[in-house]
Symmetry: C2
Subunit: 336 residues, 2 copies
DNA sequence: GCTAACAACGTTAGCGTTAACGTAACACCC
DNA sequence: GGGTGTTACGTTAACGCTAACGTTGTTAGC
């Protein structure tokens, strides 16, 4: 039985020191003279040494991995959140392992099971709605857990996000104040994206409070591609009944909806109002500035990562952090 | 010194069998009677057993992880490629660990170093251009390696992608055939995205072959957001000189460019032609079907993953696979 | 009734690393 | 010169799991 790969034992032999000294030298912890350390590093390099993280994580009973679960990559929102988080983690020496659930709770459950077998330093989930089992397992594992994008009064551990219901109210009330009274909504099928559902409730609430307003008509599309789904949802709404303002799940869908309106000869905002969500890059280049809500996506990532790092290091902090959403009064709704 | 977590030893004691039997039962390999297997699984469940992948990977000297390196998440192209790959891997019991390099070769190098410490079952890189060290380390590690999106005559191991130079020629020649002769290009700064650079060379080549054509004027933007970058690049081009057709790095940038044209009162396609790339979802909802090139993104993912799996299982296959790109003759260039 | 074959287990020896503890050498201080 | 630190190491025993091989019991075949 022969050794095949070079490990710290081989380095130790080559340097005539103990394995422990090599381990210390490679990790950069104290207890080794600078002379020896640099010699050991040189030898490691020469032997093409590649550390074995599996062995390290086993010995330390915890890995420097942060697991991140997102619903989808096909959404600029999560690209922004990620870019906010990744930098912070990498700076602190953690690697992130990302996966998507495609809005499927079972996939999330499987992912958590799989993730925990790696003994991660922390876990990040999207949203506040998780199966009872997922919550139980994460809490039992004692792994620091961060929930992002949505906020909960009873997070698994800590959470950072926005209040989606309130965001819905904000854009809903704005439309109400502009005199709209026949609202429509185009999003995903109910139950799929619970954050979007919460916003819809906020919008409904805003209109329900006004006498003479019709309830919000909804059309839900589950296509993976936002632009097409927005256009298709708008078409469906147009076929079914007249609305004077339509809210969309996000800006990309809203743009798809605008294109459908244009195709049908509807002028924006004269004939119909359009309200997006998120204030994505797209909205800035349109000839009509879109009415939408600016969500602090990058900040959610940064604040979340920072708090989670503190949590990993044992610092207790605020369990739930709500970041503000700002309305953008654009030109796709009628002027005041 | 006490045991804290429950491992297969605890299960073995509770079930009055050896650790090895538990290991076999949990892994679902043969050598255990069905009666015992189900009993062991029940006990494992009851004891809240969570497998330890670090220990398993250490013992097996290889993990069931596939590392995937992408340039960015802020690009629908890679979301499509990913969705094509992920399904295949998960079906085969592999987890994917995704990271982005943000087009930075050093970040890629660091990522490879980090990845190899996990002893992955395979590694996937984007593009064919990697530092000499990265190539050496991956080859020395014997880890099956797949390069996607671009193709190379000398891949590290295997590759699946499209011929970007040829794709550039295809859209370039199409524009030449339509009679355009003052071309422009809006993309990323040269050297950042080597695939886009190859396409630009193809476009240039197409125009260079035609007498009377001006060389391609270029504008490069490095903003992370495609729509804004496309608009800004177009503005820059308009400020500098007249062009009769503009190629963009991708469809989203092209749309940004179209909006800039509209702002300046330029009609499409009467005053200026617009050519995108990728045939993303967006192009289907526009009132003017965009002239672009359809790239087989999902198929790259599927074919790549399948070939890589074969490679993991020791099956030798074609080292380089080139998939076709189809021109979409839209309405943002003048009719024939 | 003996052997061969096989299924169903158990034993042993690692996998590469680190934590915890031990030790030798030397300095320092009255 | 005895006690007390401090620095720079070394030794030992895990960490949780699996590969390889060994053992036992049962059945089949003649």
């Amino acid at each position: 039985m022969r050794r095949r790969t070079t490990g710290i034992r081989e380095i130790a032999e080559a340097a005539s020191v103990s394995m422990m000294t090599v381990s210390r030298a490679l990790r950069g912890v104290e207890g080794v003279s600078e002379t020896k350390r640099s010699e050991i590093l040189r030898i490691a390099q020469r032997l093409n040494y590649v550390a074995n993280n599996n062995a390290r994580s086993l010995a330390m009973e915890n890995s420097r991995i942060v697991g991140i679960s997102l619903p989808t990559f096909a959404n600029d929102v999560f690209a922004d959140v990620l870019s906010g988080m990744r930098g912070t983690f990498e700076g602190a020496g953690y690697s992130s392992v990302i996966d998507t659930t495609e809005y499927n709770p079972e996939a999330e459950h499987r992912w958590v099971d799989q993730m925990l077998t790696w003994r991660p330093a922390a876990v990040i989930l999207t949203g506040k709605d998780h199966s009872r089992e997922v919550r139980r397992k994460l809490r039992a594992s004692k792994v620091p857990t961060l929930e992002i994008w949505d906020v909960s009064e009873d997070p698994i551990d800590i959470c950072v996000g926005i209040d989606h219901y309130n965001a819905g109210q904000i854009i809903g009330r704005y439309a109400v104040d502009l005199g709209y009274h026949a609202p429509g909504y185009v999003g995903a099928p109910l139950g799929r994206d619970t954050r979007a559902d919460a916003r819809l409730r906020g919008i409904r609430e805003a209109f329900a409070a006004v006498p003479g307003s019709r309830p919000v008509r909804i059309a839900g599309r589950s296509e993976p591609h936002a632009f097409g789904a927005g256009a298709a949802g708008m078409e469906e709404l147009l076929r079914r009944e007249r609305t004077d303002v339509v809210f969309f799940l996000n800006d990309h869908m809203a743009f798809g909806g605008m294109m459908a309106c244009q195709k049908h000869g509807l002028r924006i905002p004269e004939d119909i109002g359009i309200v997006g969500f998120n204030a994505l890059d797209l909205t800035a280049v349109l000839p009509l500035q879109m009415t939408t809500a600016m969500t602090p996506r990058k900040r959610i990532g940064v604040v979340g990562a920072r708090n989670l790092l503190a949590r990993i290091h044992g610092v207790e902090s605020q369990r739930a952090i709500v970041l503000p959403v700002h309305l953008i009064e654009g030109q796709t709704t009628r002027p005041q």
